[in-house]
């Protein structure tokens, strides 16, 4: 059964309504943190269902303690709660200087391992001998992987993994203290950002006020308005585009190009609609929720596009991959090699970004195409700046015809890369 978050179902909206009613009156920072944590765990309970406590109790009556414990521990809710406690302990251990790099290594390896299980089909996992042996070595035989995978899919683990990775890095670098247990829960699995982000930066999570400003009527209205806007985009406009223009890329060749563009439009409406709902929910709950889209259809080149599309992901990549790679290279080579260094940093960042979406060749190709596009834009811009005078360069930038052509080219390129990554599979 697919138990992933579906906004059609009332569960999300019940929890949101209860969350607003419970959280808004709380003025104590500690109480608010715990209440928000309890709300997030309660939502996991709604997603997974509670363990069969009646059966566990009857097992206890028959003194089958181990069976009762296994019954509770094997439920999705218990598994995620245990994982959150382990994440919290790991972050504390990373902060504990005497443990050196070991907790970071353990945490990184665990997150990477779970990510691979989340993303690869079970059959593929067991087709690779080394992977199969590694899984069996940690007690994950074939029958145990599927339930684990189902839990990871339900909580959209790829987003949780990025949040955990950033928290581990910043705690290890000593930039921020390790979070306490409720903050670990609230950062890793905030219920309104669970399905598909946004990915909140750990620094922003730490910096947000412990108790937000009191929810005013106008702020509440703005939150509701944003949710309504998102619902309209996701369930009306995206549905119309899907029903009227998408055939699963079965359209004959002359129309396939149009369908590729409409598919990109559908992804934008669906995803930005979802993001509007999370931002609106965050406003009502008083939980800082990053913006994910800023009119990406106006981007005049790929660098501009990534400043506007899935911004929480692109900023994560910028902070955690692009900057470290480019910085390391630039320090070795000097600023005169900036273009080459940026090229390498783009390639590493977007190849990994593609593989984060799906661990397959098509998404790797998507990453390579975006990296190549970004490198091209960067070199072209440098060439223009070198060739043209400042006035001529400014005239070039301001030229309406060039702007429109650049926007169209950028959008078509993005649509094609999306089709390459997600188009029909033979």
């Amino acid at each position: 059964m697919d138990r992933s978050l579906d906004l059609y179902k009332p569960d999300f909206w019940y929890v949101l309504a209860v969350g607003v009613l419970v959280l808004v009156p709380i003025v104590s920072p500690a109480l608010r943190k715990w209440a928000w944590g309890a709300m997030n765990v309660a939502f996991l309970g709604v997603l997974f269902g509670l363990p069969d406590l009646r059966r566990a109790s009857s097992l206890l009556e028959r003194h089958a303690v181990a069976d009762a414990a296994a019954l509770v521990a094997n439920s999705g809710l218990a598994a995620v709660c245990m994982a959150l406690v382990i994440a919290w302990i790991t972050l504390q251990a990373i902060q504990w200087r005497r443990a050196g790099v070991l907790p970071l290594f353990f945490g990184g390896l665990t997150v990477a391992g779970l990510f691979v299980i989340h993303k690869l089909p079970v059959q593929t996992l067991y087709d690779w001998q080394h992977l199969r042996e590694a899984l069996e070595a940690v007690g994950l035989s074939g029958t145990r992987v599927q339930p684990l995978k189902s839990v990871l899919v339900t909580i959209s683990f790829s987003y949780v993994a990025l949040r955990m990775a950033e928290a581990m890095r910043l705690v290890y670098e000593g930039r921020h203290p390790a979070p306490d247990l409720p903050s670990t829960i609230n950062y890793l699995v905030p219920f309104h950002m669970l399905a598909a982000g946004p990915i909140q930066a750990y620094a922003e999570f730490v910096a947000q006020p412990a108790v937000p400003e009191r929810l005013t009527a106008s702020n509440a209205l703005r939150g509701v308005e944003r949710i309504a806007h998102g619902l309209f985009k996701k369930y009306v406009l995206a549905t119309i585009v899907s029903r009227a223009c998408l055939t699963g890329f079965k359209a004959p060749l002359p129309f396939l190009g149009a369908e590729v563009l409409f598919f990109y439009l559908w992804v934008y409406l669906d995803f930005s609609g979802y993001s509007d709902i999370t931002v609106g929910a965050g406003r009502l709950l008083g939980v800082a929720t990053p913006e994910n889209f800023n009119r990406p259809y106006t981007a005049r080149n790929l660098i501009d596009f990534w400043d506007r599309w899935h911004m929480s992901l692109s900023r994560f990549i910028y902070r955690n991959l692009f900057i470290p790679v480019q910085l390391t290279l630039l320090r070795r080579t000097g600023p005169q090699a900036a273009l080459w260094c940026a090229g390498v940093a783009f390639s590493v960042s977007f190849l990994l970004c593609g593989l984060w979406h799906e661990l397959n060749v098509r998404w790797a190709l998507w990453g390579v195409m975006h990296a190549a596009g970004l490198v091209t834009v960067n070199w072209y811009r440098a060439w223009l700046q070198k060739t043209l005078s400042r006035e001529a360069f400014n005239r070039y930038r301001a030229n309406r015809g060039i702007r429109v052509a650049a926007i169209v080219l950028t959008q078509v390129f993005v649509a094609i890369t999306l089709w390459v990554a997600t188009g029909p599979r033979e």
């Binding site: 930039r175 620094a203 501009d304 955690n320 900057i323 320090r331």
Partner: protein, 81 residues
Amino acid sequence: MDPILARLQEIFRTVLLDDTLTLTPETSGKDFEAWDSLTHVTLMVHAERAFKIQFTSSEIAGWQNAGELAKLIENRLQAKG
């Protein structure tokens, strides 16, 4: 003009290819089209070399305007002695 900001202004003019650029503490990436996430790192490496300091990845992504960057450099120079 604050000497750190004045030195930063020279760096910004070189990297952003704009000899008329004037840096104030409030100047941010939004003020220049050429200042994007890419040139941002190049600016920081120029600043590292000019002031003989090193930033962490988090510091590079963490400031919002030239005033904050100047303050960051000032703190780093003071810590260096």
